[in-house]
């Protein structure tokens, strides 16, 4: 979807338009921003005002109102965050603002959008085109696909300059180089002639920002700009956007589902649910005292990096409504713990003082503490004697990849290099790291989806690397897997019942059809699904329900050990909490052992007993959960923890931004010595020369750093 839109954008930009040139980078609206700050924000007319916006999509099964009466406004110079889960209408309202809705399916059927005093909905397409890329710019989620792969970076940055500002080649080129330097890309002159594939994901997103800023826009819309990036790169990009919008006085609309990012960067927040804004207000007040049950639930359902682990995560039960048939009255009522009879009437979004608005009938009661504090149930202590179930010794996995064409040679990717750890029965080991650090490969090697290059994987004393194929197949009933993507990990052509019952039949765990059906029903109930869902196909389920099916399939084998490969990272925040709680419960009930692979440090903190941090195929640090989060030893662990935003503006304001500099090196050519030395703030010449061994720096704590 984003890529199609970009394409459209480029198509439109291709028609040359001659406009008044204004080549300077100097911010035109800085003065506005200062005025805003002086006036305390209240008196300034909004730059963008969306009033009662309704967007409808025609689908085969009827009309869906993806955005249904949304109202919000952004004042000049502010950073406004649109927060919500997938399908809440946050991206659609931004696309409507740009008038870039996919036609003919999507239509604006009601409301007004005012930008800088002009009614955007009454503009002709050509007037709108003159605004897009000039006064309104947009950055998309997927930096890998939003740049055209066959045009050079320079050409793509120069295009809006030539189209909108009528610059000549030379002026556009020097401005493009200036823009690249502005977004922190070194060696700008040379890089202008390079192509998107020569840039990393984070660099491409910087290029997208440069294109967005090219014509010095008044408003920049960033649609999940860092969702596809690693946490240390995410911090760099967000810091850059914040810094530039402050310096150039650009108003920023940030669309995101990550509450931590909102807390760190937004001035105002609009929380969306099922096509409506349920709460809106200044970020500080909204996080400190949310005034809508959905906001309260959302804030409670995310695991926190800055707080010790509580028992269960508080979750919002159920799933967002189907917008084909939205519920009568309050749309959140079916999932709301504070539902009363009055909720059958649709609550309007109304002023509740202090520049805040909420759409809840019981807002006064909520202000008086209806919701109470989140329950602080403590975690039951792990019982039983620790006995390693799985032990990995010196695991190494190299991939040979082709480089160059037919005549090119091959190169070695050292995906996993000398990794050793063990997991005690009934516990969870969290394996954290950025993309390309080898964490998934470790999981796949344990499952023998990949063959190890060297090392041992001892499962109850048996080496999985060398056991025969038939023995491995027998062991597979003990070792199961849950995948990241609930959309592609279930065969679309099979019903849920067939998917769950298949292992039962293949391994002869059931004798008859009736027995299989009964067992499937039990398994589905165990993961919180209704037994009659067995007859449905995966596409008829929501993301969370599909992930539950994936868990039921793994449980069907009655395994002892489950590799959870990013099992919640593709899910919405409120669903994520449900799945984490389910995994927790199953572990306690069935005594399961988990290897929990993830990139989200807060989630890992919540679920794991012991944590391993990996970087470029090697273990950096290994420790018990609480010890690691309280006092990380390795500089990389520290950097990871610093980069992860925390959903609390007060905490965020107190933190120094210490984003790691530099890019993730290619695993094809890892740095010499300590693989982290290229980005490490403590690195010295010695780090380049010697590979630091993983050594015990404190009882039970291991780190691979000579400086510790």
């Amino acid at each position: 979807m984003p890529s199609q839109v970009t394409y459209k954008l480029y198509g439109l930009l291709q028609r040359p338009r001659v406009m008044q040139a204004s080549t300077s980078l100097s911010p035109t609206n800085v003065s506005e921003r200062e005025a805003f700050a002086e006036a305390g924000g209240a008196a300034i007319a909004p730059l963008v005002a969306v009033d009662g916006l309704e967007v409808a999509f025609a689908t085969a099964r009827g009309q869906v109102k993806a955005v249904d009466g949304v109202t919000w406004a952004v004042r000049p110079g502010e950073t406004m965050a649109l927060v919500g889960e997938s399908g809440s209408g946050k991206s659609v309202s931004a696309l409507a603002l740009m008038r870039l809705l996919g036609r003919p399916a999507g239509r604006i059927v009601g409301g007004r959008i005012t930008f800088d005093g002009r009614d955007l909905l009454s503009l002709s397409e050509s007037e709108m085109r003159a605004l897009r890329g000039r006064a309104l710019a947009m950055i998309f989620q997927e930096p890998m696909t939003s740049l055209n792969p066959i045009l050079s970076i320079g050409l793509q940055i120069m295009e809006p300059l030539r189209v909108h500002l009528g610059m000549n080649e030379a002026a556009a080129r020097s401005r493009a180089a200036e823009l690249l330097r502005l977004v922190g890309i070194p060696d700008a002159e040379r890089r202008l002639d390079q192509f998107p594939h020569q840039f990393s994901g984070g660099m491409r997103q910087r290029v997208m920002i440069a294109i967005g800023l090219a014509c010095d826009p008044k408003l920049l819309i960033a649609d999940e700009p860092t969702t596809a990036l690693d946490v240390t790169i995410q911090a760099q990009i967000l810091e850059l956007m914040k810094d530039l919008s402050r310096r150039l006085g650009i108003t920023l609309i940030l669309i995101t589902h990550n509450l931590g990012i909102v807390a760190r960067y937004a001035d105002r927040v609009a929380v969306m649910y099922a096509g409506r804004v349920v709460e809106e207000g200044p970020a500080g007040a909204l996080f400190a005292a949310p005034r809508h049950p959905y906001t309260i639930g959302l804030l409670r359902s995310v695991p926190r990096l800055d707080q010790p682990r509580r028992g269960r995560l508080a979750t919002i039960e159920g799933a967002p409504p189907n917008l084909l048939a939205p519920p009568e009255g309050c749309r959140f009522a079916p999932r709301c713990p504070y539902r009363i009879a009055a909720c059958a009437i649709d609550p309007p979004l109304r002023e509740i003082g202090d520049d805040r608005r909420s759409a809840c009938h019981r807002v006064a009661e909520i202000a008086n503490g209806l919701a109470g504090d989140a329950d602080a149930a403590t975690l039951p202590a792990a019982v039983g004697v620790a006995r390693p179930l799985l032990e990995i010794r010196g695991l190494t996995k190299h991939f040979r990849v082709k480089v160059g064409g037919i005549v090119g040679g091959s190169a070695m990717v050292r995906a996993v290099q000398d990794v050793s750890f063990s997991i005690d029965a009934g516990r969870t080991l969290g394996l954290v790291g950025e993309s390309g650090c080898g964490k998934t490969t470790v999981g796949r090697t344990i499952l023998r989806l990949e063959d190890a290059t060297a090392g041992q994987v001892l499962f109850e004393g048996e080496d999985l690397v060398t056991v025969s194929r038939s023995r491995m197949n027998r062991l597979r009933t003990d070792i199961q897997v849950i995948f990241q993507d609930p959309y592609s990990s279930l065969n679309p052509r099979m019903t849920v019942g067939t998917i769950v019952a298949e292992p039962l039949r293949v391994y002869g765990k059931v004798r008859s059809r009736e027995e299989a059906r009964a067992r499937t029903a039990t398994l589905l109930e165990q993961v919180g699904l209704l037994p009659d869902m067995a007859e449905r196909y995966p596409h008829q389920l929501s993301g969370g329900q599909r992930q539950r099916v994936g868990i039921a399939r793994a449980l069907a084998m009655e395994p002892k050990f489950i590799v959870c490969d990013e099992p919640v990272s593709a899910l919405d925040v409120s669903i994520q909490g449900q799945i984490i709680n389910l995994l927790d419960e199953l572990q306690q009930r069935l005594g399961l052992t988990y290897l929990f692979i993830a990139h989200d440090l807060a989630v890992v903190r919540h679920i794991s007993h012991r944590i391993v941090v990996m970087y470029l195929g090697r273990i950096m640090e290994m420790a018990e959960r609480d010890a690691l989060y309280e006092k990380p030893f390795h500089p990389y662990t520290r950097a990871l923890l610093d980069a992860a935003p925390i959903p609390d503006p007060v905490v965020e304001r107190g933190r120094a931004s210490r984003a790691l500099t530099g890019e993730l090196p290619s695993p094809l050519a890892p740095p010499s010595g300590c693989v982290f030395h290229t980005r490490c703030p403590l690195a010295t010449a010695e780090c380049k020369a010697t590979i630091p061994p993983l050594r015990e720096v404190a009882p039970g704590r291991f780190a691979a750093c000579i400086k510790v």
């Binding site: 499952l447 990241q484 679309p492 449905r536």
Partner: protein, 300 residues
Amino acid sequence: MTDLASPARPAARPAYRPRSRVVTFVTMQPLGTAGLAIILLMAFAGIFAEWVSPYDPVINDFVAMLSPPSLEHPLGTDAFGRDILSRLIYGARTALAIGFISSFVGCTLGAAVGIASAYFGGRTDLLIQRFLEILLSFPIIVLALVVVAILGRNLVLGIDVNLICAIAVPIVPRVARVIRSSALSIREMPYIDAARAAGYSAPRIIFRHMAPNVSAPYLIMLTAYVAQAILLEASLSFLGLGVSEPLPAWGLMLSGSSSDFYREAPWMILFPGLAISLAVFAFNLFGDSLRDWLDPRLKT
């Protein structure tokens, strides 16, 4: 299939009487039903040709040579005075039998080879692909000629089984290439990893998990190659290796002497051509509907 949709409306369940699959297919896929109707009509005409056709298709009538469409000969006659309508009706037999069977055999074999090649990968894939490339390097007609020349004739129920083989063989590598490319992307899907992690056997993964997911390109090629097969059969017949004169076959009617008379007697080319087009059109309509019908994602 219909009862699968019912859990979405559990309240309606007690009163819910599943309609037969045929009825749902007809209501949901009207175009496909039209295609199927044409195919069935042709099949009926072919099977009961003796009773349906007005004339004997091989008897020459020199009085009526090259006569234009009239009440006596609705589609006219050919250079030997044979009734074109009757020849078309008899020709449906060969066209459908050889066209459909050889396309089915070729595509199914090709799909099996393609999926296996993609699933096993590595050296197996390399060997299979190089072998297929050798087959691809021969022009279709030459390859078919070689097969016919080696195998000779083998009539079963009046249909030349070896002719079917000859037409199916060149289809195999072409289909295998396309199916392999779709299967390659399916092999990377996590649900295949899940099946491997569950320790299922290779045939089970190939046939239960991968094959249903490549049915869309398979069905499209199956229907497209029916037309190719009818034309290939005509070419072979023209070279004297397929069906031979005076046996009626659509392809044969298009080629040969009819092209000499396209000015004087255009109906000689027009009607067999229309028959082939209609058959292909019907197979395509039916194939498209079948693809949608078999995809659970397009039904709710």
